[in-house]
Symmetry: C2
Subunit: 351 residues, 2 copies
């Protein structure tokens, strides 16, 4: 095989506000690679199949000097993220040609890796499309629901960004646990998907005030002296005013699962939270989490339980697949603006 272009998505510039396609990241075709001859030095060669574009990536577009949970992207280097790749050559006895690996890969066509650090070989007995392994089979929803929800039948959970890949999985897990679900999303199409997955109360936050729905659906049931309002748990993907509304409508001893706060990623976290005092007044517990800090506890269970649920159709999902690494910049922006119509995946190569 002759040398081929190793297309790469390079981090180019820290954005002010929203990321800009063609400026924040650029697609570069200046590097070539010969897959048959590139030295492996005892490692293996991975061909990238699918990459995941996620809200948290915005936080990585920052000055390298600022530390945070996920490392800053490096200027002039390929960005990386969750991906599925296929092993096409190997000198590592633990890895066979034809194996599929899941984990952080650089967003480029080919990568040489030394060992499986940060990667996991995926069996895929159910023969699911590989894109699902960076989508509905992302671990965030399942693992944090198990870890923090303490779900009890009959309780109510509110989920923001509920039509997204994490939110829609949470809604379905909550339904399986017998909870009443309230979900919000920002388009008619997303509202439609929330219906499909059986969400009990659905509203479009662009046309309806979350506060109105939450206080009404909670029903402010005053038992004795304390306002026994609705929300027993809140899965927060957005933060900001919606978080404040949820605090206002929450029950005593409510649990808030803090998964993300996309409302502030591009414009800052300066929305006032006048109901923050309810954390004290209603004995609310907030659980912030990042999935990589809990996944070691749930990986085995996850890969045993969830792929069959998806294969059987018991967990529904929606993907928004874009073709080609050259489109990553556009997809990054779409995800920050909530314009993706399902889990944003970029398809890089066929299996």
């Amino acid at each position: 095989m002759a040398p081929v272009v190793n297309g790469r998505v390079l981090f180019n510039e820290i954005p002010q506000g929203y990321p800009e396609p063609g400026k924040t990241v650029v697609y570069d075709t200046s590097e070539t690679i010969d897959p048959d001859t590139v030295p492996l030095n005892g490692g293996f060669l991975v061909k990238t199949l699918e990459v995941s574009v996620d809200p948290y990536m915005r936080g990585r577009m920052r000055d390298e000097k600022i530390e945070s949970y996920a490392p800053a992207f490096k200027k002039g280097k390929p960005i990386d993220g969750y991906a599925i790749g296929k092993v096409i050559r190997s000198e590592n006895p633990q890895v066979k040609v034809g194996d599929h690996v899941y984990g952080y890969l650089e967003f480029q066509n080919y990568s040489v890796r030394k060992d499986l650090t940060g990667l996991r070989i995926i069996e895929n007995k159910e023969k699911l499309p590989w894109s699902l392994y960076v989508g509905v089979l992302g671990k965030t929803a399942y693992m944090a629901w198990k870890e923090y929800a303490q779900a009890k039948k009959g309780e109510t959970v509110f989920v923001s960004a509920a039509a997204g890949p994490v939110g829609s999985f949470v809604i379905q897990l909550a339904k399986m646990d017998g909870l009443k679900t309230i979900g919000t999303a920002g388009s008619d199409e997303k509202v439609e998907f929330l219906k499909e997955i059986g969400t009990d109360v659905i509203f479009n936050y662009k046309t309806t005030k979350p506060r109105d729905v939450l206080l009404k659906e909670g029903g402010i049931d005053i038992q004795g002296k304390y306002p026994d309002v609705s929300i027993r748990s809140y899965w927060d993907n957005v933060g900001g005013e919606t978080l404040d509304n949820a605090l206002e409508a929450s029950k005593v001893n409510a649990r808030f699962i803090e998964c993300g706060m996309i409302s502030g990623y591009n414009t800052g976290f300066n929305t006032p939270l006048p109901n923050i005092i309810q954390i004290v007044a209603r004995s609310i517990k907030l659980y912030g989490f990042i999935v990589f800090r809990i996944e070691h506890m749930y990986n085995d269970e996850f890969y045993k339980v969830v792929p069959p649920l998806v294969a059987s159709g018991k967990i529904k999902y929606k993907e928004d697949v874009t073709n080609g690494l050259d489109k990553v910049g556009d997809v990054i922006l779409a995800v920050q603006k909530g314009l993706n119509k399902g889990k944003a995946v970029v398809h890089v190569a066929d299996d």
Copy 2:
């Protein structure tokens, strides 16, 4: 005994901003009572000895239609709060003349009670001054520290309003558990008291920026990829900017014990919290609590363990005692402004 004045502290007007002595509550002497002949109807007569004035009372000065964890004060009626009283007549076989009761009493010289609902007979084997039972022997610090702190030797805890009755007890509990303590207060005198009780790092938030101290004392110890900064737990009495600073300086998996947010009680909770995203990024857990929701689990332990600790001098405390129910309005304002020099107690009558 002839009828005597039954002085009462009546709620008069909902304050805008800070409460105003003589307007928010008024001291009323229009009611008389004959302690020897007032009908008990099977109950008992309590003479009020000591009453507690606390920050949370501001939240009770609101429109009765707004529900919250502590009931609103009723206009024209006596306010109530934690107090110690002595039983001076009784027709209730469970209560003897000479018993001392702790719990919510109306702020007036004499009260007739039917039974012990909401009250507890205090033995006081250690013969401690009765005022301590509404002060250092308040349960908030001890019970919530036991319930939420998960203290581990060598960790660092930051305590705001650290010279107050709750904060100073927390500092001493943390020292007993082997923690490094950082405490902040708003006057030289309070800073002096923090030295007396052995606080490791002390600063006056009126002359030093909390953020500077917290980031420095934490030392931002970057281990590997993640900023391993200082605060493993934060006992929050103030909320607002200090809470934001603590979020910025907190460690991964930090625990925040949300006891109160006095910075917002009189002026509203509108301070932006730009570091709220750290709840997610650093997997921080916040535990809001109100002591009456957890005290049933700790009452027996508390009365066994804590009075001897205080009697032996192992737990130091500072009281700010004012004489006379007619001064309650002034003390309420002082507490909201942080002008009290120790636990604010109003001494009503000698034992």
